[in-house]
Symmetry: C2
Subunit: 461 residues, 2 copies
C-alpha cells in the first residue's frame, strides 16, 4: 500500500469509524452472538492479496454483531474504557510513525514526550513531587502491579533478588476487595498464593489498617518478610477507598513498599473536590491510574509513577551487547525498556497527548464531573425507591445497588436489562449479597441513558 | 470530538501520515537530537482544549526531528519493525471500535477472529497440529517468553506452583546467544539469575545439544529441577539457528518445557524453502514469532502458540466475582485474559487480519524473499571484498560483518554510516570481535538502499 492508496483507503476507514460511532447506540450493548458464531463466518487466509473493502464488509457483517460496544452510552459494565476520538487519532499517529521506543536512542521523542506528560500530570493530579521523574506508561494496571511487586522484592532483598530469586518468606498484603491482579502478580513473581495476606475490611469495604498492622507484626514474628502492601483508591467491586495515610504509617514502620492502585478512580484527582480520596498518596512508593478507563484515552495507557525509579530500573534492567549505545552509556537518558515487562514499546504518549490537548485539563474535569453528577442523580432515585437500595455508599460515578427483595430479583433485573441490549451492567457480591454495579463513564452517556437504565431495572418491580 | 469532527480531522491525520511516509527517506534515519532537546520544546498542559492543528504542528516541529525512523528504507538496525500501512489501518479500526477483549463475552469477535487467524497460521507456517487451539497474540516476545516460563514452572511443579511459589531448585537453559528476555523472565519469575544456565555454542553460535544434555544431567544429579529450555531460530545477535530437534530430544528425556523463540525469523516459515530452519518445532511446547518485526504488522503483535493451553490457563487464571459470566462458566469459550500478563487487551487481531488480507500469504512471502535476496546480494559483495568479511554465515536477511583490519575500522565505519543519516546499523560482538549487523527488512528497502549502505561502509577503505 503506497501513501496515495493509504490516503484513499485511510479516508474510508476514518469514515467507517465516524459512521460506527454515530450509530453505536443502535447496537445491542452486549453482543448477543453464541460461542463459535463469529468463527463460523470467517474465510481462510487468502493466498493473493485483496483490497480493503472485503475487510470493511466483514466488519459490518461479522465483527459488529460480535462486538460488545464499550463506547455505547448504555455501557455501565465493569469500568468504562473510554476511547475518545482524539485519542484514536493520537494512536493512529503512533502507528503511522511506526517507531519503537525501547531505548531513548531508538526514538528520543517517544521517551521525552512521555517523560514530559508524566511529570506534568504529577502536578495536575496533585501527586507528590517525589513522583517527578518516576512516571512511565504501562499497558495495564495489572502490569503496573507486577512491576511494583518486582521492585519491592528487589528493594526488600537488599539487592540480592536479581541474583538469588525469592526465598519464600516474602509476604504481600491486599484486602478481599483488592484487584485480583495483585494476587496474580504475587503468583507470577514466584511467591505463590501462600504469600498473599487478605487484610480485613470495614463496613465500607475499606482495608482496616489495624488488621494490616497486626498481620504484619505476626508475619514478622514468624520470620516472614513483608514486602508490599497494595492500597486501593476505588476498588473494582464497589469503589471502596482504603485509608492510604493509615496504611502508609504501617508500611513506613516496617519498610514495606506501598503501592496505591487507583486504576479507575485516579483521574478524579484532577478535580480538587475529589482529592480528599487520595489523602496519603504522598507517602506511596508507587501509584497507578488508568488513562484508558475514565480519562478518555484509548486502551492501553496505564499511568504509573514510582518514587524510586532507580530501584525499578535496577530490578528490571538487562543490557545485552546489541542494545548498547552511546546515549544509554552517557547516563543522560531514560530507557523505558527498563521500566516495564516487555522490551519493545509503542509511542503511547501520543494518544495521551492528544487527549490532554484536545480536551484540556478543564475538559477532562468536566467529563469526570458529569459522570459523578449522573451517578448522584441515580443515587437520589435509588434512595427514593421502595424496592432498590445502595448496598454500599456511592463512590464517585460507581453505584452498587440491589433489589430489597433479594438476590433473585436483583439478578433477574440485571439479566433483563442486559438482554434488552439497551444497557449493560455487571455484578459483584457484597457480604454474599448479589449486587449490580452501575459504572457511569462512557463518553456519550447522558442523563436520559441513566434514566432509561433505571426504568429498565424497575420494569417488573 | 463528534463523529463529523473526527471525519474532518481524521482525514487530515491520514494525510499527515501519507505525507510522512512519502518523505520518510528525506530524514536522517537515526535522530540527531541531544538528550533533553525534545523536552525543551514542549509546553505545559493546557487548561482549555485546543484544536488538533497544534499537535500536528508539534509533530513536524519537535517529534519528527526527535524520531529514529524505523520505516526508513535505510533502517538496517536491530531488527525491522514493519508498520505497513494496511496494518496501520487495521490498528485504527481497533482503536475506533474501542473494545476490550479480556473475556470472550466482552467482545466475542475480538477473541474469535484472533483464534481463527492463529489457527490458520499454524497451517500457513507449517507448525504442528498440536498448536491448533493454542495460539494467542502477546504484546512482545519478551512477554511470550515470560508466560512460557510461568507455564513451565506450573507444569514442572505438578501444579503446586500457583500456591507455593518457586522452590529455588528450578533451572532454565539458554545459550550465550539467547535473547536477554529469557534471563530476564527467569528473574521476574522469582528464580534469580542463579537459575539460568548458559549452554555452550558451536562455531556457528548455535546451542550445543550435547552440552545442554550434560548440564541437565549435572543439575538433576545436584537435586535441581530443569524446567525450561529456550531454543532460538534466528538469534538476535547473528541469526544463529539452534538445533531444535536435538534439543527437543534432551527436553523429552527430562520432561523439560521447550520454548522456541523465532521472534524475528519465524515468519520465514511461510516460505517452504526456509522451512528447514524450523526442523524440530513440532516437538516444541511453545513457539513465538513476531508479526511486528518482519511480517508487516504494526507493533505490537507477537504470535505465540503452545501445545498446552490448558497448562498456561491453569497457571495464569484468576476469577474474581466481577469477571464471572455465563459464557466463561459454560466452558465453551476462550478468555484470553488467562493467556497473558495483563488483564485487559486490545483487538490486536484486526491489524494482523488487515495484513493477511491486503498482502495475502503470497504477498508476505514476496516481502520476505525480497529481503533475503537483497541480503544474498550484499553477501556476494562482501565476499568479493578484500576489506570486509562475514563474521558468521548469513542468516536469511541478516548479515554480520566486520572490517578485516580490526574493531577500530569496523566501529569507525558504523559510526560514519550512522552519522550520515542515510542508513542506520547496530552492532554485536562475536567471540569478542566487534561486528556490524545489517538487518534488511524495512518494507521500503530496495537494492539501491543496500548498495548505498555498502558504498558508505567502504567510504574510507
Amino acid at each position: 500500500m503506497d501513501p496515495d492508496e493509504f490516503r484513499r483507503v485511510g479516508h474510508e476507514v476514518v469514515d467507517w469509524i465516524a459512521d460506527y460511532r454515530s450509530r453505536v447506540e443502535g447496537f445491542p450493548v452486549r453482543s448477543p452472538v453464541e460461542p463459535g458464531w463469529v468463527r463460523g463466518q470467517l474465510a481462510g487466509l487468502p493466498e493473493r492479496g485483496e483490497g480493503f473493502d472485503g475487510l470493511l464488509a466483514d466488519l459490518d457483517r461479522v465483527v459488529l454483531p460480535g462486538t460488545t460496544h464499550w463506547q455505547h452510552p448504555g455501557f455501565f459494565a465493569y469500568f468504562p474504557s473510554n476511547a475518545s476520538l482524539p485519542s484514536v487519532l493520537g494512536d493512529l499517529l503512533s502507528s503511522g510513525l511506526g517507531v519503537q521506543g525501547m531505548l531513548w536512542s531508538t526514538s528520543p521523542a517517544a521517551t521525552e514526550v512521555e517523560q514530559h506528560l508524566m511529570d506534568e500530570l504529577v502536578g495536575a493530579l496533585g501527586l507528590p513531587p517525589s513522583f517527578v521523574g518516576g512516571g512511565v506508561i504501562q499497558d495495564t494496571a495489572s502490569s503496573a502491579a507486577l512491576v511494583a511487586v518486582l521492585a519491592a522484592l528487589h528493594r526488600s532483598s537488599g539487592g540480592t533478588w536479581r541474583r538469588s530469586g525469592v526465598d519464600g518468606t516474602e509476604t504481600v498484603y491486599v484486602s478481599s476487595q483488592t484487584h485480583s491482579s495483585l494476587e496474580r502478580a504475587a503468583r507470577l513473581a514466584g511467591l505463590g498464593e501462600q504469600a498473599v495476606r487478605a487484610v480485613e475490611v470495614d463496613s465500607r469495604l475499606a482495608m482496616r489498617a489495624d488488621d494490616l498492622a497486626a498481620r504484619v507484626r505476626s508475619d514478622v514474628a514468624a520470620g516472614r518478610r513483608p514486602v508490599l502492601v497494595c492500597a486501593t483508591v476505588g476498588t473494582t467491586g464497589t469503589g471502596a477507598v482504603d485509608p492510604v495515610r493509615e496504611i502508609a504509617a504501617v508500611c513506613a514502620e516496617h519498610g514495606i513498599w506501598l503501592h496505591v492502585d487507583a486504576a479507575w478512580a485516579g483521574p478524579a484527582a484532577l478535580c480538587p473536590e475529589f482529592r480528599d480520596l487520595f489523602d496519603g498518596v504522598d507517602r506511596a512508593d508507587s501509584f497507578t491510574a488508568n488513562a484508558h478507563k475514565w480519562m478518555l484515552t484509548a486502551f492501553d495507557v496505564s499511568l504509573f509513577w514510582t518514587a524510586h525509579p532507580d530501584v525499578l530500573v535496577d530490578a528490571l534492567t538487562i543490557l545485552p551487547e546489541y542494545l548498547r549505545n552511546t546515549a544509554t552509556e552517557s547516563g543522560a537518558v531514560v530507557d523505558y525498556r527498563d521500566w516495564q515487562i516487555p522490551l519493545g514499546r509503542r509511542f503511547r504518549a501520543l494518544k495521551l497527548w492528544s487527549v490532554l490537548r484536545w480536551y484540556g485539563l478543564e475538559g477532562i474535569r468536566e467529563h469526570l464531573r458529569g459522570h459523578v453528577e449522573l451517578a448522584a442523580l441515580l443515587e437520589s432515585w435509588v434512595d427514593a425507591s421502595d424496592d432498590w437500595e445502595l448496598v454500599v455508599p456511592r463512590s464517585l460515578s460507581l453505584l452498587t445497588i440491589a433489589h430489597r427483595s433479594g438476590d433473585d430479583a436483583t439478578r433477574a433485573a440485571m439479566d433483563r436489562v442486559n438482554a434488552s441490549g439497551d444497557a449493560f451492567v455487571t455484578h459483584t457480591t457484597v457480604d454474599g449479597r448479589f449486587a449490580i454495579r452501575v459504572a457511569i463513564g462512557a463518553e456519550a452517556t447522558r442523563e436520559h441513558h441513566v434514566r432509561a437504565l433505571w426504568d429498565a431495572l424497575r420494569l417488573r418491580d
